[in-house]
Amino acid sequence: MPKPKVGLYWCASCGGCEEAVVDLAEKILDVVAAVDIVFWPVALDFKKEDVEALADGELTAAFINGAIRLSEQEEMVNLLRRKAQYVIAFGSCAQLGGIPGLASLSDREGVFQYVYGQAPTVVSTDGVVPQTQVAVPEGELKLPEFWDKVRTLDQVIDVDYYLPGCPPTPTVIANALTALLEGKLPEKGAVLASSRALCYECERNETKPEKVSLTDIKRVWEIIPDPDKCLLAQGIICLGPVTRGGCDAVCVKGNMPCTGCFGPLDRVHDFGAKGLSAIASLFGSNDEAEIEALADKIPDVTGTFYRYSLPASLMFKSRAAPTKGGEQ
């Protein structure tokens, strides 16, 4: 039987997902033995034409990381969708928009104005900004379109499975590959990691009180936390209770709180709203002024609760159609 063919691809991302694959270390040799990687721009010699030449559905799986920001990314993922039986959104950016998804707080115009004009080191030459088509003395050059908003992969194409994390850990990746190869994939749409909250796999969970009561909220630089005790119980916003497990609580092992990169648990439609309501429910006061004072200790609600998931939020989902420069 021929080996199943798989492809790996990246969109608006940082390359950390690729590093996570390389961090499979010696296990990557098992992967190469079990599948034919026919498309992986990071490591292998390939052509877009090679993908175009594949029969529809010839790829068993396409693993796509990164959010969708540019016109060319959209074209490429549509091509991969046609060629692959399964499309797996790989990592926070593809699943939820990720940190680059925070750019949806602004738009094309806002990004261009600052990056190419107002930044303190830019020496502006008559307001020059990059253009999608520009005439140079020798001819014409082109750049891909920069859309106003960032989109998740499933806002652009149909997605079969999700691998969470920024980046997904090697263990999560290895388990997903095993499930794929053994034909043990769950129901379509599943997130391929733990279905329980992070707290359950956290070493500090036993120090977490039955009912956490937040009477003060500490920013991470304001406190030297006890390295053995639940961070939430020490007043640090840790998103462990609402975040999907599977990472082995690595950030907490680094003595820092979970910031939610593994995203929501099943049946949660808006991760940020879930996190916000979960934390607010722990406020240990019924006094309006005290509650307000506590809320003031979380000065950036968007960045705290929607750090990885803004484009997937209910608020931004409806704006997911691609526009550029003031188009509606």
Partner: protein
Amino acid sequence: MTTKVTVDPITRLEGHGRIEIFLNDAGDVDRAYFVIPELRGFEVFAVGRRAEDMPQITSRICGVCPTAHHMASTKALDDLFHVEPPPAALKLREMLYSMFMLEDHALHFYFLGGPDFIVGPKAPKGERNILGVIGKVGVEVAGQVIAMRKELRELIAYLGGKVVHPVFGLPGGVAKGVQKEDQERFVKAAEQGVDFALFTLKAFHDLVLANKEYVDLILSEGYTHRTYYMGLVDDQNRENFYDGKIRVVGPDGREFARFSVQDYVEHLAEHVEPWTYVKFMFLRNVGWNGFEDGEKSGVYAVAPLARLNAADGMATPKAQEAYEEYVKTLGGKPVHQTLANHWARIVEMVYAAERFLELARDPEITSTEIRRIPTATPTTGIGVVEAPRGTLIHHYDTDERGILTRANLIVATQGNAARIAMSVDKAAKALIHGGNVDDGLLNMVEMAFRAYDPCHACATHALPGQMPLLISLRDAQGNVLREITRGD
């Protein structure tokens, strides 16, 4: 009739960079453009965020060098909150950083840029990769490279929680220290690291320097540019990755400027071109005079070659030895040959490993005093490190709550952007005459920018070692005259 040659990594949708070469009627190169089709706007969405989140948010600029962004950002936070970390925290940061530099440079030498030399610039394309490297150096060595990378990355995760996007740095210190019983593991890894770096240096001697053809290639004019050079130096002008003053030397090697990063805006500026999303760095006090060599052009270079030019030497003994040999062999300083970056990178591996060992042996790294809680009101913070790919600056302004009101990032690869564009142009001009574009162009062009350790725009580019290329020869109407692809 103008002919356009497009050298297009098929990965162009992911911002690997695209090369557009315009030929004139005679079939010679008018101009080659290096285009970066990638932009994410981190500086814009940084506004409104909590300052303490920046080391984690900005690490997402690059998953290959997250540690560099994380550290530049953490240092900017010290400055922002006006807090000096305790000595143990500084040592831990520099130790983690040295491990990262060693691991990242090794990755480039063995997996990415090195195959051109280890396997050979004219070797069959199918062998010019890590597998070809294994064939040359042997399975045992390859296993050693993989094991070294794994151990270094596990130790980075020990301190940073995660190796890709660590959670280590805080204003005034670090989140986690080294337990006494674990110090020995760090020492052992560092000892192995020194051996590994010296082995790599020897491999470079045996495989590259012993081959006259390669040495001639390194020294050839087609890969040479005479620009300014920049790098961090300590108080004795020795190279430093973690801290110090930014020093700039001119094309003649003389010191042009030496300044604290807090003054970077007075010295550095960015130029915008309409045909690429990347901004080009230049020296403000020289000015932007186009993509030109020489002392009248503000173009400067960063990364290993530039750092060794900007410094007077290395702070550790074996690295100093390697540095002296490098300078002597290449005919004195400054070294202008772009391909010498590969050698300079290995000299830096030796330094990173030796510095790692010094710090791993330091009894203070097991101290529990690793944080100082800031008490002053945050205002403006600027931090710098030498990323593997060059000088990296983070600058944040905040309100009194420490919420960002403005951010400016001078990313390492931007510092080389102009010189990379010039290198590609020069390589194309040196190679293409009379309209003859042969397969050799592919590798010549690739080598011209691969030497810089291609992480273009330090954005979405992980490990772009084998950059698959397609060259289309088109006439003015856009008809494809000829196509050349690697592997044909």
